[in-house]
């Protein structure tokens, strides 16, 4: 018997595990008969570890001990993740665990279910990731698998997996399909060509921070923006869970009631939400998915009319407005033949089956979603492997010394689609060594290879000896310079949420972070002509800002910051005046 390889969909919200059994892909259900489990891990106050449904249930009682949506943190850098429901460490750890460790708990649970169902040990797995995951996010996923005791034999793109599930019944056809995968935290669109068992991905586009979660946040903020909801934190996990419930109800009903019972021990909050309200809130999110669709189609050089089907997968495609938008974009009714929560895991199982030999007849040709390149003169990105190249693939580049006797050169490897190197994702740096030689005479050939997992390997070939050596790509130091972090933050502020309450909080927080140290400096310096009563007023305003920051309440923080801004206006005006006087004095002297 061939050894078993399992297929795993490690989702933002839900996860599942499957395997090929007697030639058919199936998902493995847990003791409760569930084939899909919540991607939730609880580190309960009782010290007990719970994963899946039990963890999700604990969220109502111990919201601060339950980790959900950990996938959003995988392979990210500090400053890149906004409004995560739990506090994050400087290294993006949550409750003292790295994102990989938390994900590993989910994988361990899935592995346990599979071993229990199959009655034997499971050691190898195919794990899916969003097609738009970059190198670091893929590497983190692989590490999570290893932590769970699994050898990850393949990292597979989620929409490609869904296409495998879709294409399995159509092996004798030639067809072109688009897979629209809209889940809890990520969105992907892939265009594929299926021909006699060969699955060729033509193009893929997506957003790794766009999903049903965003709609939940927008809905929660909107519900609380009125009728006495101001005292409730829209980021509270319980509030988000209620928003998610209401959102689901509205996929089937015309209206629903959003409730936060006894939020302060005695008072409760209620608000009617109509489907039209939700659709208005979700519209910007849906529009962003549609933009990806248009780009992917243009990348693939395929017109909507040339498609045979647009396959929907992912829980968020149950939203009627999503289906309407997709239908409008592609000019056809979408194909809903696939189970939205299960197709990706089934596809992973199929790929696993192909690799273990339990299933044949399928060849998968996937693509790399982002262009790969190196930084060249003037901070530009020089693309070596364009996006949508079929993987595995490779490209070479020759590096020469720019000065006599130069011993080496540092090269930055980048992933992304922007002109300027600094706008792209930096994978890391490596050093190319040169033999001592006059300028332009030392040469080293470097080969970049993207393997079938979408992961990068860099080989340096010494042109003199012809020997290859694998270059180690050093992870970029966590301490990216402040300006870059700021840019990343403000970029994610711009793109990550369209939602007002969130924006209010972030804006107010940035202003508070500017004002607090400035006030401290001015008061410290004393002088500045700060009168005693003025000082008192400023100090009271500072206390209010600090309290609002700690409470994390948007509107409270906004008004507290405004009060502080006003309280310090007088000092500010005097400081400007003084600076002008000093400048004038300098001029008169000089």
């Amino acid at each position: 018997m061939a050894e078993t390889i399992v297929g795993i969909d490690l989702g933002t919200t839900n996860s599942a595990i499957g395997v090929v059994d007697s030639g058919f892909p199936i998902l493995l259900a847990n003791e409760d008969g569930r084939r899909v489990i919540p991607s939730a891990v609880a580190y309960g106050r009782d010290g007990e570890l719970r994963v899946g449904e039990a963890a999700r249930r604990l969220r109502a009682l111990q919201p601060d001990r339950v980790v959900t949506s950990v996938k959003r943190l995988m392979g990210r850098r500090p400053g890149e993740v906004d409004d995560y429901p739990l506090p994050l460490g400087d290294d993006l750890s949550v409750l003292g665990r790295s994102p990989e460790e938390v994900s590993a708990e989910i994988l361990r649970e899935l592995r346990r279910i599979a071993e229990w169902r199959l009655g034997h040990a499971v050691e190898k797995a195919v794990i899916t990731v969003p097609a738009y995951f970059h190198e670091a996010q893929r590497a983190a996923t692989k590490r999570a698998g290893e932590l769970a005791g699994l050898e990850v034999v393949r990292i597979l793109n989620e929409p490609t997996a869904a296409a495998l599930a879709y294409g399995l019944d159509r092996l004798d056809e030639r067809s072109r399909v688009a897979v629209y995968d809209f889940g809890g935290g990520t969105f992907d669109l892939s265009v594929l060509e299926l021909a006699e068992g060969v699955f060729q991905v033509l193009a893929t586009r997506g957003d790794t921070a766009l999903g049903g979660d965003d709609i939940d946040r927008a809905l929660a903020a909107w519900c609380l923006a009125r009728d006495g909801g101001a005292g409730i934190d829209p980021g509270d996990p319980r509030v988000l869970e209620e928003a998610e419930r209401v959102k689901r109800v509205l996929s089937a009903e015309e209206s629903a009631t959003f409730r936060v019972p006894f939020y302060d021990g005695s008072r409760s909050f209620e608000r009617e939400v109509r489907r039209a309200d939700l659709e208005r809130l979700a519209a910007p999110v849906i529009e962003r998915t549609i933009r990806c669709c248009r780009q992917a189609m243009s990348d693939a050089g395929v017109a909507p009319a040339e498609l045979d089907a647009v396959v929907l997968v992912g829980g968020s495609t149950r939203i009627p407005a999503v289906r309407v938008a997709v239908a409008a974009c592609f000019g056809r009714e979408p194909d809903v033949s696939q189970h939205p929560d299960e197709a990706v895991a089934l596809g992973a199982a199929i790929q696993a089956g192909v690799m273990s030999g339990a299933m044949s007849r399928l060849v998968l040709l996937d693509v790399t979603p982002l262009s790969l390149g190196v930084e060249t003169f003037g901070g530009l990105m020089n693309v070596l492997i364009p996006r949508n190249s079929t993987i595995p693939c490779k490209a070479g580049e020759m590096f020469t010394n720019a000065a006599d006797g130069q011993r080496g050169m540092r090269i930055r490897v980048l992933q992304g689609e922007r002109e300027m190197a600094r706008d792209n994702w930096e994978l890391g740096k490596f050093e190319v060594g040169f033999e001592p030689a006059p300028k332009g005479k030392a040469r080293v050939g470097v080969q970049f290879r993207i393997d079938e997992n979408g992961m990068l390997e860099v080989l340096a070939r010494d042109t003199a000896t012809g020997r290859d050596s694998v270059l180690e790509i050093r992870e970029v130091a966590v301490a990216v310079d402040d300006e870059a972090v700021e840019a990343m933050v403000s970029e994610s502020v711009e793109h990550a949420f369209e939602d007002m309450a969130e924006r209010v909080f972030t804006e107010a927080k940035l202003k508070a972070e500017e004002l607090l140290p400035a006030v401290a400096a001015v008061l410290e310096e004393g002088g500045g002509g700060v009168a005693a009563d003025e000082r008192e007023e400023i100090e009271a305003a500072v206390d209010a800002v600090e309290a609002a920051l700690a409470a994390g309440e948007a509107n409270r923080l906004k008004s507290a910051v405004q009060v502080l801004d006003q309280a310090t206006e007088g000092v500010a005006a005097r400081m400007v005046e003084r600076a002008m006087e000093q400048a004038l004095a300098r001029k008169l002297e000089g």
């Binding site: 804006e507 940035l510 202003k511 500017e514 004002l515 400035a518 006030v519 400096a521 001015v522 910051v561 502080l564 801004d565 310090t568 206006e569 000092v571 500010a572 005006a573 400081m575 400007v576 600076a579 002008m580 000093q582 400048a583 300098r586 001029k587």
Partner: protein, 129 residues
């Protein structure tokens, strides 16, 4: 009409009228190169400061930057004076050029660059108000 206001424009018109040939591209005076190498970083600092001022969200945040803004304005003013002096010196040489002494194309190149940098300075100065 308008281009005659600038000394470089005047010189170029004069050269065209006299049929004096000369490459508009090429080297400029070494001393000016040095001057511009010094000036580049000043403009960069002015840009940094402007960015910081724009990013400031509160009156106090902007006020804290004010002493630096004042100094920067003074520095830019001083540079404007230096460049005005250079332009004046070059213009004063026009009479000699008319007598056929010196290389008009070279002077034209110098002036072109000087005027370009004057423009950059004016833009920075305006942004710091």
């Amino acid at each position: 009409m308008r281009r005659l206001v600038s000394p470089a424009g005047r010189l170029q018109a004069w050269m065209a009228a006299r049929g004096v040939a000369g490459d508009p591209r090429g080297a400029i005076e070494g001393r000016l190169m040095e001057l511009f190498l010094e000036l580049g970083p000043v403009l960069q600092r002015a840009d940094d400061l402007r960015r910081q001022r724009e990013a400031a969200r509160s009156a106090l945040g902007r006020a804290l930057l004010e002493p630096r803004a004042q100094e920067m304005r003074d520095e830019l003013e001083a540079w404007q004076e230096r460049l005005d002096g250079e332009v004046a010196a070059h213009t004063a040489g026009f009479a000699a050029l008319e007598r056929g002494e010196g290389d008009p194309a070279r002077v034209l190149r110098d002036l072109r660059f000087l005027e370009k940098w004057q423009g950059e300075l004016r833009a920075r100065f305006a942004q710091l108000w």
